[in-house]
């Protein structure tokens, strides 16, 4: 397996707080990689740096062999990296279908200013994804009317609309009920089987350990351990990172 996405020796400070320090993360092609660590260990900051929302003080981000450090979010997305947010973000005043079409780029002629949003192919694919995530019946509803769990599914589905090669999920199981967690995990497995690579930040250990091929543990902005979930779960440094730092109960 080859590294598809690599963040190399990333450092980022906010004022006096070193959010990331010499942090190196590798995501193998076709893998589901988990990124865990206590609150404030720098997971979301690393996501933001990879996807262009924040700039690192030092270090580089590579997509395959291409350097993408400091690329804008729209550029990162165009290169095939999609992401969701920790606090679920959808477009509340657009319909569910319109939410899906924002990212779609199949068969559109971008040169024409007044070209209709969402050609037949885009809509077909969008509906497929809505069916895949189980919210197709709400396609014509305003996104604002969806429940929290449905919003999570819509956010995921809308990122998938452009068929990204890598999907970064920030707490996909956060705040949703157990049966929906199962549903989301199954969808991730399906997509992964079709070739999509995943990088997942999650506090739900059962979810991470059951789903991921590789797990990287962050603590105080540094990688403290990395490996298959079975080994990570037993690693004393990981237990120390979680329990030693006050054990905020997320594990």
């Amino acid at each position: 397996m080859t590294a598809q996405l690599r963040a190399e020796r990333i450092a980022r400070a906010f004022g006096g707080v070193q959010a990331l320090d010499d942090c190196t993360l590798t995501v193998e092609q076709g893998s589901i990689t988990g990124l865990i660590g206590p609150n404030g260990s720098g997971k979301t900051t690393l996501f933001n740096i990879i996807t262009g929302y924040e700039r690192p003080d030092s270090g580089e981000v590579y997509l395959a062999d291409r350097k993408i450090t400091n690329a804008s979010p729209q550029r990162v997305f165009a290169l095939g990296i999609g992401r969701t947010f920790q606090l679920t973000r959808i477009f509340p005043r657009l319909t569910v279908m319109e939410n899906m079409l924002v990212a779609a780029r199949r068969g559109g002629r971008p040169g024409r200013l007044l070209a209709r949003a969402g050609g037949a192919a885009d809509r077909r694919r969008a509906l497929e994804l809505l069916e895949f995530t189980g919210i197709a019946r709400h396609a014509a509803a305003l996104a604002d009317t969806l429940s929290y769990g449905q919003r999570k599914l819509l956010e995921l589905a809308s990122v998938l609309a452009a068929d990204p090669a890598i999907v970064l999920l920030d707490e996909p199981a956060g705040g949703v009920n157990p049966s929906l967690i199962q549903h989301i995990a199954a969808r991730i497995r399906d997509l992964n089987a079709q070739g999509t690579t995943f990088l997942i930040v999650e506090h739900n250990m059962e979810f991470v350990m059951g789903l991921c091929h590789q797990v990287t543990v962050l603590d105080y902005g540094t990688v403290v351990a990395s490996g298959p979930p079975g080994i990570i779960a037993a690693d004393p440094r990981v237990l120390d990172a979680y329990l030693g730092s006050g054990g905020d109960g997320d594990g």
Partner: protein, 369 residues
């Protein structure tokens, strides 16, 4: 009728299975409702089309021309501010630039008579060209910072109009005289403004259903997320800003000949943008017909108040009070509120039709709270 109305209406229709005679009755009443609405709209369109032929009083047609200019300007403002959510209070920059572009060109090229109307494209072009640097500066910031910056840039333009020699300073530039019959003098202006208004509404509709319009509305809802989904936010916002400014500039050019003089305080009027914002909020921000409806109601009302209360301040105070009332009681505007009422009434009659057989919307399996 409106995009917003269509969206919510479609949303209801999608999961309302047709059932029972009651359902058919509801569908029939919906169809007759549509016919009534269509008849009303047709009557309104005919009335607008023949207005200056029926009401030939100069004082009335004067108000009609002003109203049509504001209908078009509010729709143009809405293409940018309504769709993108960036509230511009600097569109008078484009209006004034259109006024002065035509005024200066007519003076320097010594154009007279109907030939001056050949300068209209110039008004639009100058405004569009000015919109690009203004947009590049102002669109870097969002929300209230954006509002403040547009106001600041507006005052720079007003100061320039006051102080540069080529603008004629406070005394301004007088328009070439048009040798038109006094009785029908206002009519060509009315139809010109009406044409621009119709074109702007058509453009609003085209943009709303376009990919470009979808990107603008995505930016309105969550710009950072839109960027993360590949939307190139700056070019999209700038295009809408320039397009909107271009139409506003064109209207400035028309208004210059109509009013007959370009003066800084009237061409660059700080109340211009407040009026546009008020009209759009009143009718329904971001809808296709809302701003036009707002202008059709508010501009004649404002003109009437000014005539009725010769004390200028009183009419402005009343206008301010109206603005407050709109924000308090109709925060979403007439059309979205009406669309919501209709949709919820339909939903209620739909529920009655279905009886208590099933919950209105069954949740998909496995999707939680």
């Amino acid at each position: 009728m409106t995009g917003a109305g269509r969206a919510t209406g479609a949303g209801r229709a999608a999961h309302a299975p047709p059932a029972a005679p009651a359902g058919r009755r509801a569908a029939a009443s919906r169809a007759s409702g549509r016919i009534v609405l269509a008849a009303l709209l047709l009557a309104l369109a005919v009335m607008i089309a023949v207005f200056p032929l029926v009401f030939t009083n100069g004082a009335v047609t004067q108000i009609a021309v002003d109203t049509m200019i504001f209908v078009a300007a509010a729709c143009a403002w809405n293409i940018f501010s309504g769709y993108s959510g960036y509230l511009s209070l600097g569109h008078a920059i484009f209006f004034g630039s259109g006024v002065y572009a035509v005024a200066i060109a007519a003076r320097d090229f010594k154009l007279t008579g109907d030939a001056v109307f050949s300068l209209m494209p110039l008004a639009a072009a100058v405004a569009a060209v000015i919109a690009i640097p203004v947009g590049l500066v102002a669109l870097r910031v969002r929300r209230h910072t954006f509002v403040v910056i547009t106001i600041a840039i507006f005052f720079i333009f007003q100061l320039m109009a006051f102080n540069f020699s080529f603008t004629g300073g406070t005394s301004g530039i007088v328009a070439p005289i048009l040798n038109w019959t006094a009785a029908t003098y206002n009519d060509p202006f009315y139809y010109l403004a009406l044409g621009i208004a119709a074109g702007t509404i058509a453009l609003s509709w085209l943009i709303r259903r376009s990919r470009f319009g979808l990107q603008l509305r995505a930016i309105r809802d969550d710009e950072d997320r839109a960027r993360g989904l590949g939307v190139r936010a700056m070019p999209v916002k700038l295009t809408a800003f320039a397009l909107s400014g271009c139409i506003t500039g064109l209207l400035g050019g028309v208004w210059f000949y109509f009013i007959g003089i370009a003066q800084p305080q009237a061409a660059f009027d700080p109340l211009f943008d407040l009026s546009l914002a008020l009209m759009s909020f009143f009718g329904g921000l971001g809808t296709i017909f809302g701003p036009a409806l707002g202008a059709l109601i508010l501009e004649p009302a404002q003109q009437w108040l000014t005539i009725r209360f010769t004390n200028d301040y009183l009419s402005e105070i009343l206008l301010g009070a109206l603005f407050l009332a709109v924000i308090l009681f109709l925060p979403r505007g007439i059309l979205p509120t009406a669309a919501q009422r209709i949709a919820s009434r339909r939903a209620r009659s739909g529920d009655r039709a279905r009886g208590s057989q099933a919950p209105a919307v069954a949740r998909p399996k496995g999707t939680g709270p």
